[in-house]
Amino acid sequence: MTTISTPDTPPTLIEPGSDGRFGEFGGRFVPETLVPACEELEAGFRAAWADEVFRAELDVLLAEYAGRPSILTECHRLGEHLGIRLVLKREDLNHTGSHKINNVLGQALLAKRMGKRRLVAETGAGQHGVASATAAALMGLECKVYMGAVDVERQELNVFRMRLLGAEVEAVHSGSRTLKDAVNEAMRDWVATVGDTHYCLGSVMGPHPYPWMVRQFHTVIGSEARAQCRDRYGADPDAVVACVGGGSNAIGIFSGFIDTTSRLIGVEPAGGAAVGRAAPGVVHGMRSYLMQDEYGQVAEAHSVSAGLDYPGVGPEHSYLASIGRAEYPTVTDDEVLSAFELMAATEGIIPALECAHALAWIVREAPAMAGATVLMNLSGRGDKDVAQVMQIMSERSTGPAS
């Protein structure tokens, strides 16, 4: 997974030490109560990740339950339209419909190995909540999912899915009532239940070891994609593009290309651009770029996509931005909705609104990349978003700006 770095080669994946740092980012800024739990988790993960039996068990689950490896699909019609070769890594075809399953299977298996009987999770769009509930059902663990009240409303169907899967879903009414507040509430739960509960965090964020551990569970995306690209095209793509909220699907696919010359592009929503504003802050256990006001109060993110409605970003992304290895442009909600429709109409694939961010950037930048091979992580399917998009379209068709 990791290769030896020399000054002449591009950077390689960082394996953080006990301080949990990616350069000056990361760390473990948690209440005292959680320090021993984070240490226990770090030790548990290090041991499990080095254990062939654990890895083999996880590989079987990924293959026979999640449906890995996920395929690579070339978008011939859309590619022709854009003047590029557009290739999708189809994480949307995994069981539960997104890349999130890679991480939750790993964490649930680890939780069992560590003797925990209960999972708590936060969720934004509901993808991670559904994935956590799924893994809990599969492994016989109790599961409680915290979800911002605003998101509960706009992702009603996912709430029902989680309940169907046996999870308890609690709407969070504090703060901005979105993903960041769901994280706060999940951490509060964990503070009170740390003895028998594992916090199944859904992205490459939070206190050490989460950003590193969650990345490791998602490196399967990048290692598959790299081999698939080389096998099919005989080369690495010119650009690797993914959407970024916390950044787990992005880091997963980036991990396969970090030591290549491929451009790495993490696309943030214009209303949730943590990296773009480049102000380091500390929240949710980590030091990373963070949207905040002049006093350090965390700002509210705004995005059409609940899964990207997050004012922070995983610390490794801050690190990759700070060393110039990856770029983090933004796209607007309007660009996203156009891209969402474009992919459905030209390829017969309805992307998650999150992934439509990546496509929106590709559509905008395609004229400057004529002939290039662009690999996009299609990290989730858009079924969950159809009702919301239908509503937005009908509002627009009756509004003055249609």
Binding site: S174, G175, G296
Partner: protein
């Protein structure tokens, strides 16, 4: 002149008094009068919360008070500017979350506290391993950093916490966030006992000490209590008078029992 937290609390303790530190959310309507009322009713120090947008260690009551203050546009400097004018004769301790410090810069924030007559500071999301830069800045500014010890800490961790804490050691009463509970958790006295066995620094129990009877119970082992949610609830429901009455009730219970 700032009153040293540890110096003051040791003197009170060594005179045979159990220590009572009420917490009040800065910026909540009427908080200044509530602080004065708490001191008049027998507080040995006061803890002033500087509201943060994402208070992970706080339960519903303190979250609500913080949100009211934030919605009213209260800023950290606005709260600090009020402190010298409170004119109280016990140490002032601030409680906030690390990002407000980090954003301002460690030294700048520590100096800001010192200028505002603040003697101590509690940052519940800054554990020992990450506390180094802040502790140095606070030491340099003469602000005492009070560290928390949690029931989950293994034995080897506690001496490192008691060695680095200043003012007192904040012994977390239970596994959970701030808020009132019907009964005192067994962890409250257990951890206080573990800490008393290894340090002479005052040991105060906070989080989940919800009324006068629980304060008395925990002070059979500990040197004192920090009371947060139970005080803030009175502030929300009945203003400064209710805070004063409640603090007086706890004070009387402690003085009667010990």
């Amino acid at each position: 002149m700032n009153i040293g937290v540890e110096e003051y609390l040791r003197r009170q303790r060594d005179a045979g008094r159990k220590l009572l530190v009420p917490y009040l959310t800065g910026g909540y309507p009427g908080w200044q009068d509530a602080v004065r009322a708490a001191v008049a009713a027998g507080a040995d120090a006061v803890e002033i919360g500087i509201p943060f947008s994402d208070p992970v260690m706080d339960g519903p009551v303190i979250q609500e008070a913080s949100q009211v203050a934030l919605n009213a546009g209260i800023t950290p400097p606005a709260i600090l500017d009020e402190l010298p004018g409170l004119d109280i004769e016990v140490p002032i301790i601030t409680m906030t979350y690390y990002n407000l410090v980090h954003h301002d810069g460690e030294h700048r924030f520590a100096d800001r506290l010192a200028r505002a007559n603040v003697s101590g500071c509690i940052l519940p999301d800054l554990p020992l391993e990450e506390a180094g830069p802040w502790c140095e800045a606070a030491d340099a500014a003469g602000v005492e950093t009070i560290l928390l010890a949690a029931p989950t800490a293994p034995d080897e961790r506690l001496p490192r916490i008691t060695a680095r804490t200043r003012g007192f050691v904040y012994s977390v009463g239970l596994l959970g966030v701030t808020g009132e509970r019907e009964a005192l958790a067994a962890t409250a006295t257990e951890l206080a006992g573990r800490l008393k066995a290894i340090t002479d620094v005052p040991v105060l129990v906070g989080v989940g000490v919800s009324n006068a009877a629980q304060a008395v119970e925990v002070c059979r082992v500990a040197d004192g209590v920090v009371q947060g949610a139970s005080v803030v609830r009175r502030l929300i429901e009945g203003g400064a008078d209710a805070v004063g009455e409640y603090v007086a009730e706890v004070r009387t219970a402690l003085d009667t029992a010990f």
